[in-house]
Amino acid sequence: MDDLIKIVRTYRLTVGLTERIRLAEEIFRHIEPDLRVFVFSSVTHDAAKDALQEVLKAVAVSLKQFKGDTHKEFWGWCYRIARNKLSDHFRQQYAERVQPLPPDELWQIMESTAQAKPISPGVRHDLEHIIKLLTATKPDCSDLLWKHYVIGLDYAEIAEERKLSYDNARMKIGRCLDEAKSLVS
């Protein structure tokens, strides 16, 4: 992952178009899978494909303007651009996607991977538990748990998104997890 920030720094200093395109492709091979999860978790699936293209374009256009030096800063910057783009251009779909995916849909998604990677009974049991945890609480809590534990947003990024203090975000996620565990057990 440290490689990513090295490539971003190199991109910033690169003048030639061919080299810039090569570096940009490398950067996007690193970040596309996670931005894809973020976008598909943030807007309705019907809109997600177009939204992802818009987000990737916005990040690519702004890449030279990224001023940070760390992996964490870079990801925070990418997600900030993604949120701006989604709330500006996909406002309705952004609002509609507050509801988390229901357990049966999450199961279908898991099942779709079973051919390439079979699901043993033990793993099935564990996945069932995780799906219950992620969907047991009210939508707002489920959304927080999803963003923190599945997308991987840290407390600071969630605090920024929700306009909360760092400690409030941390406590809210902790309470949501406690609530989910109490409902599941």
């Binding site: 940009a24 916005a58 256009v61 890449l63 709330s87």
Partner: protein
């Protein structure tokens, strides 16, 4: 391929048991695989990235050729703004 959640997750998930962390890791990996399989657009995405880089490059070159003309860079202006949550 390990996504960002797996890297970040193991650093921050103090509240989950080790078994739950492993299960979450499995869930996230499968979720990513399923999304990648359902929506295979990497080449299309890369085309968009290439076009955006080219467009940005041409704007920079244009600005160098005629420094008195302000280049149009709407994305550059948009980036630092927070999303408008007021609607």
């Amino acid at each position: 391929m390990l996504g960002r959640s797996q890297v970040a997750g193991f650093l921050i998930m103090a509240e989950l048991s080790q078994k739950e962390q492993l299960a979450l890791h499995e869930f996230s990996a499968r979720y990513r695989e399923a999304l990648a399989k359902q929506h295979q657009t990497p080449e299309q995405s890369l085309d968009i990235v290439r076009d955006a880089v080219r467009e940005q490059y041409e704007q920079e070159m244009g600005a160098k050729r005629s420094p008195s003309i302000e280049p149009s860079t709407p994305e550059k202006e948009r980036e630092p703004e927070e999303p408008d949550q007021g609607h």
